[in-house]
Each structure stands twice: as C-alpha cells, then as structure tokens.
Amino acid sequence: MGTQNINLLPPLVESGRFEELVQSGQTISATTSPFDNSLAIFLSPTNISGFKSDSDQEEPVYFASYDVVPSSERRLFIADTQVIFSMFHGMLESAKTREPSWLQSPEALELMRKFSVDYVNFIKECWIHASQPMPRADGPLQFSADHYRSLYSCFSLFVVLYLPEPGYEDAPVGEDLMEWLNIHFIEPSTEEGDHLSSLDKPWEDDDFWPYLKRVTLRGLTKASLFFFNTLLQHPSEDLRELAKTIIPVVESQPRLQNFSAERDFAFASRRWKDRVKAVRIEMDRVPEENRFDDFENWWDSLSDIVGILEGRNAVIQRVCEDLGADWKEVCAAWGIFSDSRLRRQDLVDVAAEVLETMPPDPTNLEDMIHSALFSGKPEQALRHASQFDTWLSAHFADIMEPLGLLEIDESAESELSRRDEYILSYAEYLHSDPTQWKTTVAYMYTCGDIGRERGDEVLVRVPLRLHPSETPSTPEEAIAQAVKEISEVCFNHQREAVRRTVCRVAAQTCVRHKDYGLAVSYCISAEDWVSLGRVIDSILDEYIKNGATAFAKQASKIAPSVQELQSRTVSEAIFVHRLVFAVRYSQIHRYKLEQDFTSAASDIVTLFREEIAPKSWWPVLLCDSVELLQYGPTLLFSTSDAAELLSKLEEISIRASQGSGDDYLSVLTRTIKGGGEKEALERLKVVRLALARYFARCTVGSDRHASPA
C-alpha cells in the first residue's frame, strides 16, 4: 500500500545533498501523531547554541501518513464488513458458553460457512459496484475493481476449500473447483464462441480446435456439444462418424450433483470411462492417411480431447500449457477427469505435483494466495494476503483460527496469536482514519489483553467533540454526545478505566467552559472525588469573582447531582457535603432575588445549625444575613436563630484574635478588593451591629415576629 520511501514537497535540498544541510547545522526531526498514523516532520538544529540564530528563513512543518487513509468506496467496504465481523464474533462469544467441542460441530461449521459466504457475497457486490462506469459522489475509487475481483476470487476459493457444506467435507471437490474457476477465470471467451458459431465451417478456423479443447477441459458441455454437432457436417467421413460416437458420451458425463449417493456416482463414472475407451478404440481404427483434412491433423486434436476425457494427466497438462492455462486449471481438470473422486485432503498432493512443473506467478499475489490455499498452507496464504490487503489477511485469520487451521499458541516474542497479529495489523491500518474509531476498537477488542490495551489507547483519544460534518451545536452538547458514544463502547467492551478517564477529561473541559452542571455529573460518573472538590471550589469561586447572581445561576445547574449523590451510599461524604453547601447556598441567593426573604433567612440558619457551611464561608453567610436582619416589614429570624448567628460571629472573633483568622476569613477577604483580614473583621462589625439592632426589635415588637418556617 503506497510507496515505502517518499520525499516531501516542497523539497529543501537537491537529491543526495542533505549533507550540505547538516554542514550548515540543520537536520531532520519528527514526531508521531496520536490522532492517526501520521508524523509531523520538521527541520531542527543539529546543535542548539542557545541563542537566536541570525537566519530569518521561514521553516516549514510537513505532515505524512504511513498508511493510505481509507476513502470513498473503501470506507464503505470497511464499515460494512465490520458488521459481518461483529456478528461472527457474537457467535464465537456465545460458543464460549458451550462445550469446547461445539466449534467443530456441524451447527457451528454451518454458521461459520454462512458468515464466510456473507463476506464473499459482500465482496462480490463491491466488485460489481466498482466495475460500473459511473460518476462517484464520494470521489474516485481508492481501490480498483480488479482489486475487489481478486478479493472475491481468494475469499470464495477459501470457502470452497475450507468451508464445504457440513456433511460434504468428504465429498469430491473437483466440480466445486471447476465451478470456482469458471466463475472467476472465464475461458474461452464468449466472443470466441460467438465468432466460431457464426461460421459455416468453423473447423476451418484456427481457433476451432483450441476452443473445443478448452470447453471440454472446463466441462462446458453445452458449448462442446454445439461444436461437436457442427463436425457432423465435416468433409471427413471418419470424423463425422467419430463425432456421432462422442456426442452421446460427452452428453452423458456423470455429474456429482445428479446423484444422491457418492457410490452411485462412482459407479456411473467407471461405466462412463469405459465408453470413453470405446471412443479411443474407434479412433485408433482410423487409418493414418485419413487423419488430415485440408488444414491440419484433426485426428491429433480430437485425440487430445479424448485424452482429456480419459483423464490422462500428461495430456491435460500439455493441453493446458498449449492453451496458456495455468496450474489452477490443471488441478481443477484433474478433479473432474483424472480422479473424479478427488477429496479435499488429497488435493494438497495433486497441487504439489502440478505446481512442481507449473509454478505460480510470484509477481501475482492473488496467484500466490490461491496456490497456498490449494496446497493446504493457510499460514503461507495469510502471509501473501497481508501483502495484498491487510483486510484479507485479517478476515482470513479470523475464520482460520476457529477452524483450527492456525496455531493458537502465542508467539513468545509478540505475545500474540497469529490471528491476533493479523487482526491488529488491520486495526492499525484502520487507525489511519480517525473517523473509523469504532471499527478500529471493535477489531482491537477481539485480541486479548494486548488488543484491549491498544484499543484503550485509541478509545481514550477519541476527541470529545462531534465530527465536523454533524450538525453544529454548543461545545457542551458536542462533549455530552461524544462522551455518551464513547461510554457506550466502553460499556459494551467493559472498559471502565477508559470511561472514567474520559469522564475526568470531560469534567475538566466543562469547568473551562463554566458548565459546572455537566462537570459535576462527569466527576460523579468517574467517581473522581478530588476533582469534584475542585469543581465545587470553582463554582464557589464564581461567587467570589463574579458575585451572587452569576453564582446562583451556575450552582442551580448542579442541584440535580446532589440528589443523585445522596441517593447513593457514598463514602466520600466530605465532597457531598461541600456540594450540598454550594447548592443550598445558591438557593439562598435565588430566594433573595425572588424576594422570598423568609426562606432565605431560614436557610441561612439551617446551613449553620446543620453544620453544612464550611468555616471559611461563615463570615460570608453572616454578611449575607445583614440585609435580612434589617428587613423592615417583618422579623425574619426567631430569637434563637439570631442567637445562633451571634454565636458564630463570636467564634469567628475569638478565633481571629487567637491568630486562626485565616481559617475563617480567607473567603471573605477575597471578596473585598485589595482587602485583608482587618477589612474583613471591619465588615463583620456591621453584622454585629445589625444583630444588636435586631435583638432590640425583637424585644420591642415580638408580636410582629414571623412564624418559624
């Protein structure tokens, strides 16, 4: 995939002259991106002198990816085949709840065959789609139609050889092979047939006999019968006679599919072979001088055809070589004519013999994959497949392992099984496209501990924002949506640690956007109490920095979280406590804004009585109460309430005089611009005065006292 070694544009130096840059103190450097499989490349100093150099040259940063990012039809192909992959793994997962031998049962094999056939059908669709000359909305094809054709031929051969219908494992394979060959490597061409059939005397054409040989070899009975019938018009009487004999023989060649028992098929095949022998005897009776027509020696050509029908290996191989057919055709013809009962397990020996003299094309990976599959070398097939397309090797390996075709032991060095190595190598390629993160981790998470941890590294780096193409929304909504999607994947694969990290990052991001409501719920979701404490501090900071109104608005958003926390039995009570305080305190300010002073007053006292308010906030609360103490129309506090306020005020004063003022006054101090402890204490004097007045009012007009809430 792609060139291995590239040079970036624009170039900085002529070819082979990088040394000159080094002489001038420059060298290359790079860093790898966690986003995808790319690098940032830049020019660096060979030795940093520490001082600004004189050069005022503009320096570029280049970016390069080590995988070609999937695009266009390839993306669809990847996404859609993952659906089959996931279903296949759902089946393997459920197999774990059964006996270990179940995977070898006909039921399991049937399912594996079904999924494999799904792959084959899907690849076929893709190939057809890619073959159509049409405008493509998502850009030109990334992989050619021929690439998908190769995938199609390889995957369907794999199914033919390794995933026969259950119960047919021991059935002869010849006809299946020939069918596969006829689907994927069409010979002879239809045009040739059309041309010959349009002639009055087709045997006068040079292509006639090669064509007839090829259709015989391929078992294309219809075509061969048609042309044998034309020979009934041939000037040679001998040939006409022979054609008459041959036609019913070709017509009656036994086909496995027409028999319900293999024994009957074998019997019929033997009897048919006897009839072919009879043809041979008749041929031999033709005198030498009658074996030619005006063009050539028809007898030799016909002899080849009869040789094929007889199943003479040497003839089949020679004819194939003459016709330019390769080893695949010889193997398939072998299974039809030489040994019509050829079993899958015996095919290996046949392939070995044929490949000995007709080796596969080493420059053609498809051919190499085919030959490895024929030869019963799944590991070798995987190696070639991985060079051809990591998709193919990954999905081959995925099915080969449960079929018992691969060693399941882990390699001592990589600590991965063969299957996992191929799957992970594909997943790594997928990581070049960050939008495919769900697919990437779906593959990684099927690969043991190593796969899981690699998947975690990818999953935890999924950006907390929507894909740009999606409808625009607020950053908070985007984060919420992204977290939801990631959490779902975490849940499906039980990746709790990742979920928590993602929640922590989300909480941090929300704090920066001042969305404290979400921040708190993410902290709780991550059970990160230290961060929760910090978020609450930030909310309370809002009060100090931006005043009561801004604070009340922010804090109201976290109210729902309090209920959630209180319903849990949380050991981190301290944080809950602070959270409750922030919410209750903001409630007081809301009451004030709504002019519900009675509730505001009673809540202030409750915060003190129930020891919800932290000491550092006591002075702030007391200052807040001044307004309520001075409220004219009614008395908002009971005498005991007011006494509670006074006692807190006393405690602050005493402690401050003992030098612990910092514990109590830090927050109030911060609300006073440029103020210190002294100013804070000054402020508290106002509270004392208000309280004194209030007590006075209580004595004078206790009848106007508001009833306690």
């Binding site: 291995q4 990816s65 960050p434």
Partner: protein, 420 residues
Amino acid sequence: MIQTGLIQNAHSDLVTDASYDFYGLRLATCSLDQRIKVWQLDEENGTWKVEDDWKAHDAAVSRVSWAHPEFGSIIASSSFDRTVKIWEHSPDAQPPTVNGNGSASQSQPSSSKWAERAVLLDARGTVRAVAFAPHHFGLKLATISTDNFLRVYECLEQPSLATWQLSEEIDVHTLPSTSSTSVHSRAHTVALATPTQTIAPEGASPSLVAQALLQQQGSAASRPGFGNREADGGWCISWCRDRYWGEILAAGCGISGIIKIIQLSPSRRPTTILVLDPSPSAPVADADKAFAVTCVSWAPSCGRSYHLIATGGRDGHVRIWKVKPAADDDGEQGDDAEMSGDEGRWTASVVGDFDEHQSTVGRVEWNVTGTVLSSAGNDGRVRLWKAALGGNIWRPAGSVGVEQAEETGTDGDKDVDMQS
C-alpha cells in the same frame, strides 16, 4: 508513506521540537526563535491554523510537552535560558507575558490565550528536555539539564498551577544502583552480540568526597572532550507509561553513552534499577570512545509482559531494548545460574540494532500503541520500524526525506532493500 499536509512558514527559524497534544488535534512547536506556537487541526480539510504564538523564553526553546487533558490544557517548555515554564490555555486568560511581542511580519492571532503559570528556575545548566509524567501519577513533570540533574516537580495547587514543588533532584551520573556489585563482573562474560545479553546496573556510587570533587571539577578531568561537552553530549528523558511498575523513567545525559532506568518512590531515595549500555564489556578506560545517547523513548507496553525502549545516539545507531521487569521467571534463558542471578532484577537485551542512518540519530519516538518506531537522523531521513510477524524481528517500514525527488524515481533505489 504519503504526504498529507504542510505548514509553509511555521517558524522563522529552525524548529527545535514539535509535540502533539493528547488527541493529536493540536501541535505545539518551538524554535530557536524563542517562540512557541500552538497549531490546531481543521479536521474538515486537514489543514493546520495557528491558535496562538508567543515569545516564551529568552533563549532557544528546547522542548515542549503536553500534560494529560484531565489536568486541563497545559504545556511545559524547557529552554536554553535555564528555565522551565508552565503554560495554560484557558478561555478567559489574559495575554501571556509582557514580552509577548509578536513580530510585525506575522499576522497576530486575534487573542493570545496561553498564559504563563509558573517558572521553574532550579537548573544550573541549559534545560534540554521536559516531560510530563503519566497522568495516574498526578500532575508531575521531569526535566533534565546540562548540569546532569534530573529534576521532578509536582504541582501543589492544581487549579492555579502556580506552585510546583521540586520533589526529586537526581545527579544522573552518580545515582547508585540497587543491585550488588557481584553482577557487575558477570557482565564482562556476556558476549556483546548475544541477543539476550543482560546489562548489569552500575556499581556502587562513589563516595561523597569523590562526588564533591567531581562536581567541583565540573567533571572536566574525568570526562574527556570537555571543550565540546555540550556539543557532543545528549540529554534525554522518557517516562514509563505503565502504571503497574510505579514511577520509572529512562534518562541519559552527557557523553556517557548509556541510559539509566531510574525508579522514583515516595518512601525511598531514587535508584537506578537498570543501565542500558550498548557496550557493557568495554573497560572503563574506553569511556571516551562512548557516543552520547541523544534520545530515548519508552514504548507504551499495551499489555505486553515486557517493555520496549528505543534509543538513538551519535554512533548512528537506533537500538530497541527489550526490558523485562524484576522477579519474572523466564524459561528462555537456558543458563540456570544466570537465571537465579536475574531474579528480582530488571534485565535488558537488544532486540533491534540499526545503523541505516549512518550518522547521528537525533530523535526516536513510538506511536501510541507502541508498535511503530520512528527515528530521525543526519542522513536526512525519518525512518519507520515495525516488528515483523511473530514480533522478534524489527524491520524498516518506510522513510521520509526532504530532498528533491529524482525524476526517474530512482531515489528510492538506495532504500529498495527497505521494502519489507
């Protein structure tokens, strides 16, 4: 390999370091021009636009490092002005520093959003590297400078980032090893080329007096080539990202040619648990022949039972070390006596040694899953390395350069053998 992007005029001088944020959506670059720039990826079209650009130091910036996003948007920069600075990106931040004078030629971004939060002034030499610790250890960072000290800082006030405590200050050269010296002699018997060779940790520390003397002399007497010491040296650090083994980092400094694996612990003094030495059997007298290690990168172990650490140096070699943690019985090493000796100790072996760069290697770095190593050398190429099937052989997996491609496309010829 395929080129995917370009920032035409990134800096007005050579770029000393570039570092992606956690997600790879932002890229911080720093330069000899004393500035830091933060770039943001536009996912729609794959282009990078500058988010912020400011003068960060009074000398060249050597490195930038991103903190984990759970702490916020934070970077640390180290510089030749002997400081390390902490920067935070926040929506309501004031423009960074008074000296943030944007050059007139540059279009200044609408608002500077990165603010200086702290300046760490402890180094007595130029600071060559800074790296945040893995997030599970808290908001911590390590720095290394040409005074040969590794310093570890911990942030005490997290939302404000104002206070950083110097929690460790380690003289890398003299830091003692945990193990007894008995192993030391065994190292001599191990052949250099043996793939499973074990590198013995350094022997006991020199006495305090010797240490003091060493410092007084500025290590000039004992270490050759003092005049070029900074030019020939290498200072680098890399954290072990695995939580399980505790706080461990790899550090190299000066011209010693070795990397020390240093374990930090809240209860004990830091110790060297392993030394990565490409020529352990070389007599001490040959120290002047050692080539400085310029870069080190600790791969994320991602579920493997062992660690991979890559080093690059002035000897032109990229090495991949397989490091096995302590107390891990391993049947691979046949020699029983050797095995019993390895119990409870970390061991290392070289699993990949490449000299394709043929010249100083300036940088090595792993991808996030620890499966692809990149190395950059003075041959002008950035090379990639991947493990072959089975994992025991590391192979070239492509390269990138900035030379003019030859028209006939034969440029790749000299690298043809690289095709895996």
